[in-house]
């Protein structure tokens, strides 16, 4: 203990202890020398004899130094100081290494943050890993299912210890007791009564829902999220019992949920929970898919058994619900529904469905980037080791222990690693925010919460440590694997060191191979995006501004219809406006409407056929820029009360009326029994209304005034003036017509189309950025090795030149070497890239995975980089004057 204390103390007075000891040795040596002088030896001989008696001064000093303090800590501190000094001496090297690492680690952290948010982060509930999510597939949409099916499943207590249902979090208006003014919004989620109980989320204050479902007449109540309570009620406990008006409905606040809990859906945050039974929609309808089910399986019920039982149950339910209905395409589609048991601990998410695969591809991309960065840093370190051979040899011959050298070397690389990790963590946090910009959202939706947590921190540290091992250990071992005599004897530029060169060359080849994969990916994804962007959606006017009306619930549909009509008329009077119309669902607005229709005399028989539907206002097709190929657009003249008309697309004609003039044909409504016939008045081009990847379905366009389902048509206005000016004017116009209503989601169709491609844009941007980066790094690596080789070969080249080799030959001999390296890397990398592209096949559009052109271009890009990187070294080689090098 005492020893430890004195040693610790010694750490802090290292310098003075060193001096004291020197003095002690000097006294000793001089004492000895004096005696020898007295014996008659010369000054010099006496000192030599004294030294002989004393033994190796340096060794004793080293032993003394190590015993004096705590060697581990002291050496480490010393190593750190030494490392920092060393790095400060070559700032370019340090900067290049740290930046490479920071980019590699940062890219991984950024992508992983998204992966973590979407797929790994557990809900802050009781034992989240027990939860299962029942994900609906088949039928329309996905994820959500119906309330009657929920009740059916919930009854099975042998399967579920508890099963909850919840709607998505909708943005709705609210006010606190009688306030007026600007409308305020919150996110409301309808949940089953047992929601909090099943999740094991308690109240922080007051109560959460309890008791049986279906208590229809219970008083309207709401539970607040902690964040909402803090921001809107200032954390006032008196909030309990307060009245709120949410979406025109008076409710009483009964409690605040525990901290950190803001719902179970990853991409949304809930402010207020209300019981399902308070929904004013027809929630008991089996056709209304609006609830996502999460549950805890009963004791001993495995995933497999649960899935089997649920499937049987769903089938029975659908049979009971639809079995007796007439056989229509709609019924068949309804009966395709099934529920998939998935793990629910990470919450539910629709974004995950779309994003999972691209994210994994991106994770692979950034993983490769990190490898490239590591090999780059390893190469830099090797170059540095080569430059420091003599220093190391000197220290070895002066008695420094090999292990100490390795440790020092590792300390230096660890410093680089630590700096890279710090930089990477910052870049990662910033990068993950940047990535979010690609995910489309409007003013009504919340950004994903990518706040770094322990998962992300752990990942970053692990990745950095792995990187450190990759790039640090080999050069360190290499550096100390050195015979002092050899290195000291070697001339500055001479010496073969061929093993070292082999390693550096191998690293460059690996780097080029990885870059080949990355740059091919970049080409492939960019081409795919370009293909997609140049896909003709079937209409031309991308500058059309689309928006919805955001009105209080008290406005009746009739009122809103009138408001829309007046608004469209006013819009046409605005300066610059060319045309205006409305429709549902509208171009790239999300949403789908479909139904059955009868095509008498169709070659498919006279039964019902299942088609996509769209409602369209007057001059809809003129507004979006796709005039009918035959017949006419909807106008006030041809859309009249009492006459049903429709426009169909080419796919419809191809599918059902290939042999006759469609304009001569009539259709029947799905409830054709009522006897209405529909006159086809036009044929339009096939339009991709939802996404560029969508297959165009036979589509029926009906006038807005005649469509039963166009509850919230989108308004479309086209102006010669810019979209910003138009948006502002439209906002003002809406406010003028009805102050309680707002124009929401103003966007050009171009923006909507771009938003629909966000996955492709994100993948192309990330892979493009890193493809180019990898190429640059590979070029830098190649340049470094080539320069080094030329310096090493100075003597040889000088002799060649002296013997009459032309500059061209010299250049070629250098360039050849670099091209061989590049060629090897490319030859290794391209097959890898081809194989890798198959993994990403589903992300590609208009380009096949093994697309030859892409790989030819990638090869050319690599070749160009190879030539550029060897240009300077080759010219330097050619300029070596013959005499100088021989003299050396």
């Amino acid at each position: 203990m005492r020893t430890l204390l004195t040693r610790l103390a010694a750490l802090f007075r290292r310098g003075s202890a060193e001096r004291e000891f020197d003095e002690e040795i000097r006294f000793h040596l001089e004492g000895l020398a004096e005696e020898y002088r007295a014996k008659g030896l010369s000054e010099r001989a006496a000192m030599e004899a004294a030294r002989r008696d004393f033994g190796g001064v340096e060794q004793i000093r080293e032993v003394h130094r190590e015993r004096r303090g705590i060697p581990a800590i002291e050496n480490t501190l010393g190593d750190v100081r030494y490392g920092l000094r060393g790095l400060a001496r070559s700032p370019a090297f340090a900067l290049a290494a740290v930046v490479s690492l920071a980019l590699g680690i940062g890219a991984n952290t950024a992508i992983f943050s998204l992966v973590n948010t979407l797929m790994l982060r557990l809900l802050p509930v009781r034992e989240p890993q027990q939860l299962v999510s029942l994900y609906r597939q088949g039928g329309w949409g996905e994820g959500y299912t119906s309330y009657p099916l929920y009740l059916e499943l919930k009854r099975r207590t042998d399967l579920f210890e508890g099963l909850l249902a919840r709607s998505s979090a909708w943005r709705v208006r609210y006010s606190l007791g009688g306030q007026r003014g600007e409308p305020a919004f919150l996110y409301r989620e309808y949940v089953s009564q047992n929601y909090f109980e099943v999740l094991g989320v308690g109240p922080l204050l007051g109560d959460v829902f309890a008791g049986a479902d279906g208590a229809r007449n219970s008083r309207p109540v709401a539970v607040l999220s902690h964040a909402f309570w803090q921001s809107r009620f200032g954390g006032d406990p008196a909030a309990i019992g307060r009245q709120m008006v949410i979406d025109e409905q008076a409710v009483t606040v009964i409690g605040v949920a525990q901290k950190r809990f803001d719902g179970v859906q990853v991409e949304t945050r809930t402010d207020v929970w209300m019981p399902v039974t308070m929904s004013r929609s027809k929630y008991e309808n089996a056709g209304m898919q609006w609830l996502w089910l999460l549950g805890r399986p009963a004791q001993g019920v495995g995933r497999g058994r649960l899935q089997a039982a649920v499937s049987v149950l769903v089938k029975g339910f659908l049979d009971h619900e639809y079995g007796s209905k007439p056989d229509t395409p709609w019924k068949r589609k309804s009966m395709e529904q099934r529920l998939e048991v998935r793990s629910g601990g990470v919450g539910v998410s629709l974004l995950r469905e779309r994003f999972e695969e691209p994210l994994i591809v991106l994770l692979l991309v950034v993983g490769l980037v990190l490898l490239v960065a590591c090999s780059n840093v390893a190469n830099l370190l090797l170059a540095r080791a080569a430059a420091r051979r003599r220093e190391i040899a000197l220290r070895l011959s002066l008695g420094a222990s090999r292990i100490r050298l390795v440790r020092q070397w590792m300390t230096e690389t660890s410093l680089l690693g630590a700096a890279g990790m710090a930089g990477g963590a910052l870049l990662g946090v910033w990068g993950s925010r940047l990535l979010l910009q690609f995910i489309p959202r409007d003013e009504t939706s919340l950004p994903l919460n990518v706040q770094p947590d322990l998962n992300v921190l752990g990942f970053t540290v692990a990745v950095s440590a792995a990187a450190l091992l990759l790039f640090g250990l080999v050069p360190a071992l290499r550096a100390s694997d050195l015979q002092p005599n050899d290195a000291l004897k070697e001339g500055g530029a001479g010496g073969a060191g061929s093993r070292r060169n082999r390693l550096r060359k191998a690293l460059v080849v690996a780097q080029v191979a990885l870059s080949a994969v990355l740059i091919s990916g970049a080409f492939l994804f960019s081409r795919s995006l370009l293909e997609m962007r140049s896909t003709d959606p079937g209409f031309r006017n991308f500058d059309v501004v689309s928006f919805h009306l955001d009105a209080p619930r008290s406005h009746t549909p009739q009122q809103l219809d009138q408001l829309r009509d007046r608004l469209l008329r006013r819009a046409l009077e605005l300066p610059g406006v060319v045309s205006a119309s409305s429709g549902f669902p509208g171009p790239y607005q999300g949403g789908i409407w479909s139904g059955d229709v009868q095509v008498p005399g169709s070659r498919k028989g006279s039964g019902m056929v299942y088609v996509e539907m769209q409602s369209a206002g007057p001059r809809y097709f003129e507004t979006i820029g796709s005039m009918p190929l035959r017949g006419e657009d909807f106008t006030e003249a041809n859309v009249l009360p009492g006459r049903k008309v429709a426009i169909v697309n080419e796919a419809f004609v191809r599918e059902y009326l290939p042999d006759s003039d469609p304009l001569q044909r009539e259709l029947s409504d799905d409830d054709a029994g009522a006897g209405g016939t529909i006159q086809i008045i036009g044929v339009v081009r096939d339009m991709r209304h939802r996404g560029l990847r969508e297959r165009v379905m036979p589509t029926l366009y009906l006038p807005v005034s005649q469509a039963k389902n166009s509850s919230d048509p989108v308004l479309l206005v086209r102006s010669r003036l810019g979209s910003a000016a138009l948006s502002a004017a439209l906002r003002a116009e809406v406010k003028k017509l009805d102050p309680a209503v707002a124009a929401a989601g103003l966007k050009t169709v171009r923006e909507s189309v771009d938003d629909s491609m966000y996955v492709e844009r994100l993948v192309a941007a990330v892979s493009g950025l890193f493809g180019v980066l990898a190429l640059i790094l590979a070029g830098v690596g190649l340049y470094g090795v080539m320069t080094y080789l030329v310096v090493q070969r100075t003597r040889e080249i000088g002799i060649r030149v002296a013997l009459g080799a032309s500059p061209g030959r010299v250049v070629w001999s250098v360039a050849r070497e670099s091209l061989v390296l590049m060629g090897c890397g490319t030859a290794l990398g391209l097959p890898l890239a081809v194989a890798g592209s198959r993994l990403a096949e589903s992300l590609l559009y208009g380009v096949r995975p093994g697309d030859p052109a892409t790989f030819v271009w990638s090869g050319c890009a690599l070749l160009a980089v190879g030539v550029a990187a060897s240009l300077m070294p080759a010219r330097r080689a050619a300029s070596i004057p013959p005499r100088q090098s021989i003299v050396e």
Partner: protein, 116 residues
């Protein structure tokens, strides 16, 4: 050089005891004095690189058996003097006992080996 090679190396541990014993009999000494005294008593039978004394001194000081302070030597120069502490004195008794045991054991061993 060849003369030195015939002499046995100083055993680790025995050097400690020699230092302690020397300090006990002679009082405070500097490193040079100690090494001379040890050489003198061992009758130049031991090869001792005088430098190796210093790590031993450091070890003993860290254990608190000896203490050091700067003083003035006979020839009027600044030197570091080592002296035995009270703990060192007690420890020496134990060390002596230890050494006696070691010698006894070794002797018995050697004799037993010889008889066979």
């Amino acid at each position: 050089m060849s003369k030195q090679e015939e002499r046995p190396e100083v055993l680790q541990g025995t050097l400690d005891l020699m230092v302690l014993r020397t300090l006990e009999t002679m009082g405070p000494q500097h490193g040079l004095g100690l090494s001379k005294r040890i050489e003198q008593i061992s009758g130049e039978m031991l090869s001792l690189n005088q430098g190796t004394l210093y790590p031993a001194l450091l070890r003993l000081e860290q254990k608190g058996w000896i203490a050091s302070e700067w003083g003035v030597s006979d020839n009027n120069r600044k030197a570091k003097f080592y002296r035995l502490t009270a703990r060192g004195r007690r420890q020496m008794a134990a060390e002596e006992l230890n050494w006696a045991r070691t010698v006894a054991v070794m002797n018995r061993f050697l004799r037993a080996e010889g008889e066979n």
